[in-house]
């Protein structure tokens, strides 16, 4: 089945996904020292409930989720060594360091879940204890997202298997080898969020994954699920664009997908949900693509959360000394984050480790002035005019930035890619957005101060009025007394 494409702009890029997919997913042993970042990719930290010296087992809860952070469980059995600041993919962050005793003892009481016997609300509660978070990168708590969807009455559960960015192929490998897990996870999530049907979206460069998925769907025999194939265009896998491509509906600015009746989940998250209900083990492992010309044997690895990236690279034959790595990137070549050190641990949101050499990343030419060629606008998938945004950002023209839609930029990097003047547009927009946020926070503070000042003045005026009235009252009484007393 094909869907309505309807994508503006975007890029067709060389995928660089063949080499890791030549082998099946390789399991990785547990790390000797697991580093669990409290922020697993969502930007918010969970609350630590252990301290150095605590004995833990596989599945012990180390930190309780709050807001955008899900529960965090230990992937190894052993002892908590420290709770300290360590380098993570999103910068230095608080991490719980657990030293493994090598025994891999499980927390007792972890049992499979008879999900089909539970009603939606109870299922959501039980899922919340699984530490399930968005495996696509945002790491937002799955149970929370599904609860929001249930409250909003969504009618479609959209599974994101697009994986549109070059180099990343962990979802492709997952679908090829564990399509039945993805199907099971989808059915569980359907029951949890109350949607009427589910669509699994793939791109057309994944024929093997599609075949495996369709076979798994035939086995499951659930007519509410279907597969939809989309053209392999970057960044069709971005949530808002995917929803528009599959359903034709666009999420309004500032709103969430449930407002248009859709909830999105990554296929990796679905597989993690399936693992949790069938074994009772919370989200502790994920498939990570380790690739790039700078690593000897690129592969997809099933690694535990908390494994340092250096160990992943070592499991793939190590760094290739003849081709020195120019960058170590967490993610793909367009939206990935360059890491300063390979001590960074795997998190629930880490999908790819790209050891890129100079050949993989062509050097940017020297920056030149914008010639208004409009290639960036043609490439922008959201319909912005990056050349106008660039001019407004340089002039610090806040009204211009709002008018040309800076808040709608998804920072995909398509505009940078095509710019003949080699202008770092995306970095400029990121900086401009930060400045806008700070400016808005200042304006809000000023508005609050003004309101308080006006209340302060009114209070003083009322006080003065009351005093004057009391004084005149006293004077009148004194006069009438004096007159009466005469």
């Amino acid at each position: 089945m094909s869907a309505r494409p309807g994508l503006r702009g975007g890029l067709r890029l060389e995928s660089h996904k063949a080499r890791p997919l030549q082998r099946s997913v390789q399991p990785m042993p547990a790390p000797s020292m697991a580093v669990l970042a409290l922020d697993q990719g969502s930007g918010e930290e969970a609350r630590v409930v252990v301290e150095p010296g605590t004995r833990v087992r596989v599945g012990t809860c180390l930190a309780v989720g709050r807001g955008a952070a899900a529960d965090l469980h230990s992937p190894v059995s052993g002892e908590v060594r420290a709770v300290e600041t360590r380098p993570t993919a999103s910068g230095p962050g608080t991490c719980i360091v657990v030293a493994s005793d090598g025994r891999d003892e499980r927390e007792p009481g972890l049992a499979p879940l008879d999900w089909s016997a539970l009603d939606g609300a109870t299922l959501l509660e039980r899922l919340a204890g699984g530490g399930l978070a968005g495996f696509g990168g945002a790491a937002f708590p799955t149970a929370g997202k599904l609860a929001l969807a249930r409250a909003a009455g969504v009618e479609l559960l959209l599974l994101n298997g697009a994986e549109c960015e070059p180099w990343i192929c962990c979802d492709d490998a997952l679908l090829r080898e564990r399509a039945s897990d993805v199907v099971l996870g989808t059915r569980v999530m359907l029951a949890a969020c109350g949607a009427a049907r589910a669509t699994i979206a793939l791109e057309d460069d994944k024929p093997e994954a599609r075949a495996a998925l369709e076979a798994a769907l035939a086995d499951a025999g659930d007519s509410r699920l279907e597969v939809v194939v989309l053209p392999a265009v970057f960044p069709l896998g971005a949530e808002g664009l995917l929803i528009a491509a599959v359903t034709g509906r666009e999420v309004p600015p500032g709103a969430l997908p449930p407002e248009v009746g859709v909830v999105c989940q990554n296929v990796g998250t679905a597989a993690a949900v399936a693992r949790y209900v069938s074994e009772g083990v919370p989200a502790l492992t994920r498939i990570v693509t380790v690739t790039g010309s700078g690593v000897r044997q690129p592969a997809n690895l099933e690694a535990r959360i908390g494994t340092p990236v250096a160990e992943l690279v070592a499991a793939c034959g190590g760094y290739d000394d003849t081709l020195p790595a120019a960058r170590l990137i967490a993610g793909g070549s367009l939206t990935g984050r360059a890491l300063a050190s390979d001590a960074v641990p795997v998190t629930k949101g880490l999908n790819c480790v790209l050891v890129a050499t100079a050949a993989d990343l062509p050097v940017r030419a020297a920056q030149m002035p914008c010639i208004r060629c409009g290639d960036c606008a043609a490439a922008c998938p959201v319909g912005l005019l990056p050349q106008q945004l660039h001019r407004a950002a340089q002039a610090d023209d806040r009204a211009g930035l709002d008018r040309f839609g800076l808040a709608d930029c998804i920072e995909c990097g398509c505009c940078d890619y095509v710019c003949p003047s080699a202008i770092p547009l995306t970095a400029g927009f990121r900086a401009a957005r930060r400045r806008q946020l700070i400016h808005e926070a200042e304006r809000k503070r000023a508005a609050e101060a003004k309101t308080r000042y006006e209340r302060h003045r009114r209070r003083l005026d009322d006080q003065a009025d009351a005093e004057r009235r009391a004084f005149e009252e006293a004077r009148r009484r004194a006069r009438s007394d004096g007159a009466g007393g005469d």
């Binding site: 968005g134 696509g136 994986e163 549109c164 000023a446």
Partner: protein, 182 residues
Amino acid sequence: MNAATLLPAVGVAAGLAVVLGAALGWLATRLRADPDSLVERLDALLPQTQCGQCQYPGCRPYAVAIARGEADTDRCPPGGAATARALATLLGREPRPVDPRYGETRPPRVAVIDETRCIGCALCLPVCPVDAIVGAPRFVHTVIEAQCTGCELCLPPCPVDCIALRPSPGTASQPRAATASA
């Protein structure tokens, strides 16, 4: 070129000038900007610190003075160069840097009361223009950090000098990456 061709040309040009000038004058009176709305717009650009460094008793009196033409746009140190520029741009004037006679532009600060030294005299309470100090006579006072504008008006009345200014904590949180694939 003789009088026959010159006179009509001059007449037409002069007539046009008179007609257009009258039209412009009439339009200037009909389309004059509402002075109240100008004060509102100027006030919206000011930082609402209510510190009085501009020599006016608050931000709105300063905005009124600018609208009336009694004060220039360079008097607000807490607003800094950005505010001075925004005010000048709104009025269509050349932006001027903040005049150092009215004060020094510094990063945002908040007042902090040293509670070990506060004697509970309540002299600082009424002077705060945004009522950000909590306290009562013979009770230790404290400043509500989120509401303090750093105007420094509470420092002079304190008899034991227990109020100090500290840099304001950061206001904006890290924006999240927007391209996560769900």
